[in-house]
Subunit: 295 residues, 3 copies
């Protein structure tokens, strides 16, 4: 890899050092097949000293938006390195493979398909530049089936670990041309009596059944209680002081076991929770469901 | 972290060296979310040379006792290092976060919630001291929601890897105040004809359907055959020489395919098994079920 | 471990260096129990500098043949090291534990039970020699239950990493005596009108529902379309130009969303696929099912 040598001069010395020692790997490969292990093996072979951290491989199959949301939640907690992310319903089609280089103290490069999986998480660090990876010829030659995670993206991530410049790996592209996924629904309105209504998409339901809304907590004025109007929780009485209304609390410890609440979660989002229980089951909510809050 | 410097002198040189190079990580986080990956990333950032070994992240949600049993089974096979264990229904409540320091040749420190998850496994090594971790202020400030695995326990584990003394991380507490989980049921009685009856809780059912009882094999006198009385195997004929009785064997090889048996398993516990089959399905047993053995 | 010193001289210098730095680990242990973590811990303790890569631990319980197929698919993508593979319905019985040494640039040693799990993958590299691992005495003494992954195979893999010679670990055996699993069904015949019929076993269904046939693509002459006769897709009209026939394509991009096709997959096998969908569901196929293709 000739990346470091080919890079332009850096007289001011502000350029971060080339290379990386950590790969953060996200996919929808699951664990039943050998896909994840084979990608690890390729990284081990090509970048033997890099550590590989699995963010998750259980993104729902082909659900690019769920993968993008997961990556956006995770990236603020990652150190320097390379994000390798593959949720790729368009493999074998016309979508580009890309490397996106970002600023900031977290991962410097994002490698994967240009289908919206990477953009939001990469943009949070400030995009510096992007390249389209050179087309790959699969085992069946040009036009054949490829396992891009193994054959294209992992080798690119390994090359970046080894000090390659993204420009060595493909052709520069205009970052504004990168594909994005639709933003989650967050809408505000008012009832006739002046009460505010927040209509929000459920961005995520975690293993514990906590329901993270797309809205961040800092967008919401605090109130003592809120009414939840969702597929599984349509109270006929819309009086927020009624028993059906959900308390707005600071933490799980403010609730009794089995009690629902609204709080700012550990990602800074508004979330519907049930202490030691599943808010998703209680309110009939899942990823993508719309829920209304009135207070 | 100033731990090594702050430690009291060790004139005799018997103190083990500070720090650790391996973290053993157990949780009920599952793998669908990014929780496990984010904790790995925090450890990578704060203790970059430590290896992290996942014991399991599929402990049933909030099942502290199942996590404690798993940890107790695993610890005899671990080398030096730090156990990071999080099954934590009381997160955000009043329960303490703790570091427990133990003697022995296995893990020296156990980090996690003080809810019984750690105690039995730590006690097997001989507890030297314990500290309550300093309270954490979440992203929402004091009182807000925290992801303690990420924000409290992983940083504490990383600090221990880096040579911190537990005393740097919190306030000493009386080890006898550490919370425990209820011991599993193991009761002995006799029938009128003098035959012994063992009533034991099922401590664990593994992926293969092997049913580990809470009783260890060295507590049981050998016998040729035993009658199993459980939810799914109540033989009307309690004659241990009858066909329904289960042979007591040394190993799976003493059984024919599909045949049930009782043996001392690889953890030294008495276990009901079916060769190349599931004893849990055969006898209708699961974790926490009670089973009676007569012989 | 005295392996390196005990090895015969190598005057020509053609012998590869002793030892290994990577273990590739495959099993049917699942992730709910601590088995995988404990084996990692044993490797960490005995061969602390070796990296351990999990190929998969979700091989169906006791399905030696599925494990053998997975290993055969994975091995061409692995670098040097030791394969540690455990799918072992015969644990505690008479089957041997073995180390198989192979030539080539991939893994040099395969460690596991001699039940067919290892043979096909090892043979692809060219078998040099094999040893039967010395019998293990479990915690209950000779004849007791053993957790061979933890107690026998992981220590053997660690010893190989540390430079042991296989001859230090057991007794040489005749490689031709190694156990194999039945080859998958691949049969050719002809219809009266001269059309060719391929009857093939389904070797693998991946997470995405792609159906890999046992036949490799280079065994099949290209044709424009093929008729699929399977449990869930028996078209009454056997005219390959009819609408029910499946196009033979080069890659997923040649299909529209939801359209089925036949292609050479990323392992070089013929595969039935549905773009952005599940061919397994569409055609009612699973591992071991027989499917007929006519063209």
């Amino acid at each position: 890899v000739s990346g470091a040598g080919a890079a332009p001069p850096d007289p001011g010395g502000t350029r971060p050092p080339a290379g990386a020692d950590t790969v953060y790997f996200l996919s929808d490969y699951g664990r039943h097949d050998e896909f994840v292990g084979v990608v690890h093996a390729v990284l081990r072979r090509l970048a033997p000293t890099a550590a590989v951290i699995d963010l998750s491989h259980d993104v729902p199959v082909f659900d690019v938006r769920a993968g993008a949301f997961l990556l956006t939640r995770a990236v603020p907690h990652l150190g320097p390195g390379v994000v390798l992310a593959v949720v790729d319903p368009g493999v074998g089609g016309a979508r580009r493979g890309v490397v996106v280089e970002v600023a900031g103290t977290g991962p410097r490069w994002f490698v994967g398909p240009d289908n919206g999986l990477l953009l939001a998480a990469a943009a949070s660090g400030g995009i510096r530049r992007a390249v389209a990876l050179a087309a790959d010829d699969g085992p069946d030659g040009p036009g054949g089936v490829t396992f891009d995670g193994r054959d294209v993206f992992a080798p690119a991530a390994a090359a970046l670990c080894n000090g390659a410049d993204p420009g060595d790996l493909g052709v520069a592209l205009d970052p504004s041309s990168l594909v994005s996924v639709p933003d989650p629904v967050v809408e505000w309105s008012s009832l006739e009596d002046g009460r505010r209504v927040l209509r929000s998409e459920v961005a995520w339901v975690d293993r514990f059944g906590n329901v993270q809304l797309a809205v961040t907590a800092d967008q919401v004025s605090p109130a003592a209680r809120a009414i939840v109007v969702g597929p599984g929780a349509n109270w006929p009485d819309l009086d927020p002081t009624a028993a059906g209304a959900v308390p707005v609390v600071h933490t799980f410890g403010d609730l009794t076991a089995g009690e629902p609440g609204l709080l700012a979660d550990a990602n800074g989002h508004l979330a519907l929770v049930v202490r030691e229980g599943s808010a998703a089951a209680r309110f009939g909510l899942g990823p993508g469901t719309l829920v209304e809050l009135i207070w």
